[in-house]
Symmetry: D2
Subunit: 357 residues, 4 copies
Amino acid sequence: MVVVMAPEATDEQIAHVTDRVEGVGGQAFVSRGVVRTIIGLVGDIESFHGLNLRSMAGVADVHRISDPFKLVSRQHHAERSTVWVGPAGHQVPIGPDTFTFIAGPCAVETAQQTLEAAEMAKAAGATLLRGGAFKPRTSPYAFQGLGVRGLEILSDVRATTGLPIVTEVVDARDVAVVAEHADMLQIGTRNAANFGLLQAVGDAGKPVLLKRGMNATIEEWLMAAEYVAQRGNLDVVLCERGIRTFEPSTRNTLDISAVPVVQGISHLPIIVDPSHAGGRRDLVVPLSRAAIAVGADGVIVDIHPDPETALCDGPQAILGADLRALAQAVRQLPPILGRVDSSAHARTSVTAVSVGV
Amino acid sequence: MVVVMAPEATDEQIAHVTDRVEGVGGQAFVSRGVVRTIIGLVGDIESFHGLNLRSMAGVADVHRISDPFKLVSRQHHAERSTVWVGPAGHQVPIGPDTFTFIAGPCAVETAQQTLEAAEMAKAAGATLLRGGAFKPRTSPYAFQGLGVRGLEILSDVRATTGLPIVTEVVDARDVAVVAEHADMLQIGTRNAANFGLLQAVGDAGKPVLLKRGMNATIEEWLMAAEYVAQRGNLDVVLCERGIRTFEPSTRNTLDISAVPVVQGISHLPIIVDPSHAGGRRDLVVPLSRAAIAVGADGVIVDIHPDPETALCDGPQAILGADLRALAQAVRQLPPILGRVDSSAHARTSVTAVSVGV
Amino acid sequence: MVVVMAPEATDEQIAHVTDRVEGVGGQAFVSRGVVRTIIGLVGDIESFHGLNLRSMAGVADVHRISDPFKLVSRQHHAERSTVWVGPAGHQVPIGPDTFTFIAGPCAVETAQQTLEAAEMAKAAGATLLRGGAFKPRTSPYAFQGLGVRGLEILSDVRATTGLPIVTEVVDARDVAVVAEHADMLQIGTRNAANFGLLQAVGDAGKPVLLKRGMNATIEEWLMAAEYVAQRGNLDVVLCERGIRTFEPSTRNTLDISAVPVVQGISHLPIIVDPSHAGGRRDLVVPLSRAAIAVGADGVIVDIHPDPETALCDGPQAILGADLRALAQAVRQLPPILGRVDSSAHARTSVTAVSVGV
Amino acid sequence: MVVVMAPEATDEQIAHVTDRVEGVGGQAFVSRGVVRTIIGLVGDIESFHGLNLRSMAGVADVHRISDPFKLVSRQHHAERSTVWVGPAGHQVPIGPDTFTFIAGPCAVETAQQTLEAAEMAKAAGATLLRGGAFKPRTSPYAFQGLGVRGLEILSDVRATTGLPIVTEVVDARDVAVVAEHADMLQIGTRNAANFGLLQAVGDAGKPVLLKRGMNATIEEWLMAAEYVAQRGNLDVVLCERGIRTFEPSTRNTLDISAVPVVQGISHLPIIVDPSHAGGRRDLVVPLSRAAIAVGADGVIVDIHPDPETALCDGPQAILGADLRALAQAVRQLPPILGRVDSSAHARTSVTAVSVGV
């Protein structure tokens, strides 16, 4: 059961609902979105009926949700959400009205390389910068990222370019320091069932980019999002990045169908990572075009000024003609499909925004 | 090793090559395409070198091919091929310059249902009609198709609508009768490693639509195409229709990356079947858009005038608003990506065509 | 719905049942087993109730079957079946009371190689000889088997060694000639959904060894068995041979759980092919031990007198110490698990057999 | 490159090696095993050659390892290892000479239920008790375990029954408290690529039970073990628990082949979890038998005094006749395959043990 509060609901009204729910032995999970707050209830449905929640002050609606995920379900929230990323006054939207292009290096290696990649990204039309400071690597002998030094480089590059930062966090113990520097916290495919980490980013007060586990069903992926939402953070963007199958010619199999499937059952935005899905430079542009056409809310792409020297995933990083082709696709195709470039949206005040929770 | 004959090579010149190859203990597989003939050689490479094949009359070129598939490889044939389907004077192209929309019912049930579906298809802009007379069904108790009666219905509907016919053949013993009625022979996903059937359609003198086995790697799929080509038939169109994975929310997982991967290594055209991939009506339009954007040469889609009564795969058949949305996508998107509608191509003479083998 | 006839039911009594069923618009599929005949009914259940089938002469029982497969379901046939393979007087059982060891070369290459392999098999305790005359190969350029010449070699080797022959048939047009020479017809993994071939072997009057499709669910596999059974042949033995997964260290992933799962829902015997599952010589003995221990009714193993020269699957063929270790496991483990060696069973008369349909 | 120290090597000798390696710019990872210490080197191979490591005091051998995993590879350590679990004087071996039976409830629910399950386990011949206090659950609304209270219950039950405890840790922040109570730390399938957690248990000084990721290749799994080993802990036991495939009749597909594959390339012990692989009570006994026969070093099985009320995975918990059948298999089969029951091994002193690092 989900209680949707009115946009103007006060903290006291919210507390009143949770008190009543707990008074009959239930649990109440409060998730605050940009526009309104949602409260997920767990416990005995019958006892909740007796509370007459719908008549309480500040309550806009009460829904019974049959999906195993509640807060991220579209059952109580037919309108698809927009998540805003970046510092106040420079926020970039990811949602149904726009198409958001995120680009940057797989790993932050040096200040110089990161700045060059960011300038390439910006020139190509990207509005958010990706870059890894903490890298989860299959081998303990592989480059593990620069850590906090990488976060500092990203902060400096944001100051120079104005691009808000998306970066991965791989350990709950690092969430605080990453949240201090980054504008959006990425959860990688290997941590898609690291529930402690999901809860920690749910508590961190920053938007989350939640990649699909390479072995996760769509339902399990939305349950992972529910772990974040349950801690009070509805600003979750999903990212399809390929699943593991028997086909060896690509690193993973991009499950392009996941985009419309997710959009049918969850209100969360969803973007596509063509770089990690294919693992091949020559597939990035066609897969990005497919992502736009299928209705994704954005793409996140690996770029590098010199892929041959990249410390991580060089074979999939694009530059030059490929990046220009991608930039053209991002300019040309979304408007045909009814979307505007995310940079066209300047977010001046919350009240002017029609989308969002 | 592959011998590419000149367009004007004579039968005697071709026979001379095969005689010489067999004279040194090799095997020669002659494949006749629309524009030129290709001869695949199997045997001892060193002995072939001694033949000085390149200097023989009618020989345009000789290539050593490292791919396990030879005749369908792009190594000897950089230009991507176009396959023409339909009776002389009404041929429809499938290839790199056009986008071909194929539609029709999963199964031919009655003359009336087939005609209605064909008229829906034509009105939506389809230039080829699909429809199953022989149906491979997992259960022996399920509707197995009308057989020859279904082929007759398809022939009648072609006469009325002018749409050439694509229909499946499931048994080598039926190839002759199907080839008598159909313009293109479809090999379904369950027969992708039925090598006797592949050889039989290779001998049948009609273009072939070769669906990917739901468990086939891309390389295995191209080897299946090689079985057809080796019998002398290069008019093969590949069709990506989803692979089997762990994800339960779609019937199969559409491997959209297969389109650019195949286009990089084979000269054969490739189309997408969004209906059987997803198995869900609501996914047909977005997946078709993705197919166009990723660079597919066409789509093949299930439609039905009354899906609720369909004897086969009703849940994925589209009509009404979905079909109109698909028609719009097929009109609107391919030109942006540099393709024309397949109906815009009237094929008047072979010599005017620049593509093809 | 399934009608189980009494062991002593006459052909007239069987015909009477089918006539009545067809008289109310139903279809009746007669399957003759060793002990009794089963008739599968398809059509309107209500109309069948009106026939009062249970009271007809020769009818032992009538069952409603909820499984999608009917004739091979254990719902109407709680006792697990035994299939007998070989010429009268020399029949070898495959079923719940015995453990059957089948061995031989992947492909028949020469008379000499086949005889040597058969003698190795016999010395190791095998009671049936496997060997391929028609080979389904992914590449059209690979060795395709000796065809009819291979069948003749197998017949000669049977005459010399006394071992009944199991060999694959890959095309419905070859069923007659293969059935003429072989004692058991094998359907390979690539033909597990080649329904015309399944029906053809169902008509051929010889026991069938039905390998699981590498992408087939257990339910689909049993539906394939139903295609054979529906043509009147209940002498089907299932063979688990690995499924396709993401793990690259083995050719396929042996689904050892399939053995008890199948035994819970079907009365058909089930054996394991450790050679094609792993594709590695070093795994054949441990996987065979696992097959015995999990409760399989037999194993089928590739052996070769000289694997390095094998024309097919040499890397998985065993000989020498591996074959001796396997022979020991087959002697030692089944008795502990309550089974006897299949050679210990001499089948003298049908009436003495308690197992079987 | 791996440096194997002599059993009697001193800390000074170890430090001398690491100093010299670091002196030429390399990294040295010291792993202490029961019998000897191994040092893994990362860096420029050429510079290591110049150090003449083999002649240093305390060095027994130096190996170049071509596997991507080094410390857990069998290349430098042909003998398979034994890991000892439990308090001094009551240690239970897991390794090549024994067969270890681990049993207990999926989740610790109450003191009473845990004690009953432990007594069932002990009566059936189990020598280690499993039980979850911290549970990773797909749904945030599912029972998440009793946490520290669960650990206390396990400690009490160990005091009563004498069975050492295996329990899961799901978050690096909990490793200290879990290590304080448990005798062996389990890493679950969802955390198989949670590298921070792997490093944390590597630092914890307790043996580790490392389950295979449900989507992990065998190589990735061994790389996960390498993360633990690299932190100085070679007491790692691998656990095959099924991988994710397309087959729906079991929760996962038990990859039984993984046991001999792993034993061929790693010296670490490997056991099987038939309960989580199949997810079905009726498969636990046959899959356990298969695990014994294939050569596994143990099994870990879910049992519960009252599965219908279990808060976690009740459908796979066994009791009664199933548990008795399993107990019989564990007594009967391992001796035939050359192993003794793990309870037969009393470990009195390290020097008496011939196996182990």
